[in-house]
Symmetry: C3
Subunit: 203 residues, 3 copies
Amino acid sequence: MFKKKDIFFKTLEEMADTIVEATEYFAKGVSDLSDVTAFAKRMKEYESQCDQYTHTILKELNKTFITPIEREDIMALTTSLDDVLDGIEACASRFEMYHIREKDEYITLFADVLVRSTHQIKSAIYLLTQKKLLAIREHCIAINELENQGDDVLRVSITTLFANVKDPIELIKRKEIYERLEQTTDYCEDVANTLESIIMRNS
Amino acid sequence: MFKKKDIFFKTLEEMADTIVEATEYFAKGVSDLSDVTAFAKRMKEYESQCDQYTHTILKELNKTFITPIEREDIMALTTSLDDVLDGIEACASRFEMYHIREKDEYITLFADVLVRSTHQIKSAIYLLTQKKLLAIREHCIAINELENQGDDVLRVSITTLFANVKDPIELIKRKEIYERLEQTTDYCEDVANTLESIIMRNS
Amino acid sequence: MFKKKDIFFKTLEEMADTIVEATEYFAKGVSDLSDVTAFAKRMKEYESQCDQYTHTILKELNKTFITPIEREDIMALTTSLDDVLDGIEACASRFEMYHIREKDEYITLFADVLVRSTHQIKSAIYLLTQKKLLAIREHCIAINELENQGDDVLRVSITTLFANVKDPIELIKRKEIYERLEQTTDYCEDVANTLESIIMRNS
């Protein structure tokens, strides 16, 4: 049983590591769009890796009776961590599908928000696995603030897009990427919300 | 424990009041687009207020063992009530971001459906807190009918849009707002569905 | 109680039958767009029929204490089966709303993936109701592979669309239908995921 505990916490840590690494890779990628095919391919690999971790956790959950934290919480954390990586992978693949070659300052801003959010998520997950529940809260607050920043970036980026871009197809591409990036900050917030309810119920 | 009960029911009532007030404000706002910035700002305030209520309920749920109705039901009601207000706030903010200045008859129709739906929701929530479960059903039926009306307005509005509007950027703006408004009627139906399952299990 | 068991399993079988029939009708419909109004109307009837089955299951769930499989699993299966039919019905209604008259090879490919997925779903549901749990797994694997094919069709179809179609309104229409069809393959995968967790917990 103690081994089982390890599997859940170890896999959650691995997911958090992968998400930080993938988001940093994403942030570098969007500042250098010279090879979007390689960029999209690498992001897809990160996403598959995260799918594997998700599968491991679900499989273990289905055969384990006693879990280190409530199974609904493990499930919710896993799903929202997976959503974060799916979100940035979907954006990376749009760079390829839409043949985007030019850098975009708003995408850079979103990527920066996401890098900072995923670092906060990683810190919070490691505190969870060390059972330092109360110390998690400040990271949740930081993630919520970053999600608000994501909302602000969306408002400004979409307003600017509609004010300046007259080519509708260009507008469609940018709008979708901005919205997907903002939604990814919402998935980060879902992680924070689950963590907050774990803290509340256990302290 | 009795005080705890009061907190859940009192906060659900406050959420319902806020949603009715916000939807009526929204309906007035879309018929007078002279100051979309002030309009979007006020809608954002309603949304923040509703977030506060959601936070109160989640916090209480996490520290309360005995709840007046099942915790999953309180959670589902809170989430879908919050979704309703998020939905109309997102529309209001698009009026600002997209610099929409002209009235739109379909948006007026959607707003009217939503005003009627939120009044039905409010009546149903007050019957729930008074434990008059059986009387809730007729309001659920009314909300379902209004959601069907929302579907019809979407079908007609989108058909008309694609038949008449030749400017693709104008089309993108209207299409998104219509779809978000229709989705908000779906969130109202989620409230009704949760209420119906509460009735069925308790009568 | 045994009768109750029958109601859940019988209704799930009826849902699976309807979904296969509706998806085959959809596949035929998208290859002959001579009467999109009749096509959309018939798909709407299938969707209403499926809503009835969903309602039956929810009503029974709310008044039954002992269910043949866990109630959360019945709920999850019902919801994702319903999502599959909602997904293709939404596409059919876009053919009508957008006055689409020309066949599209990618829509044909998606329809073919969905026909094969729903046949796999039907086989899996009938194995579930016969309690042949272990035999379900191969159908889940097939559904997952078909979902990957759906991802590939989306990537190619969207890339081709943005490379070739210069009319933004035409692009908006096709893009939405492709995305909705791909999402419907995701709903099929949700069915498979629920079935897999039922197998894991019961074998």
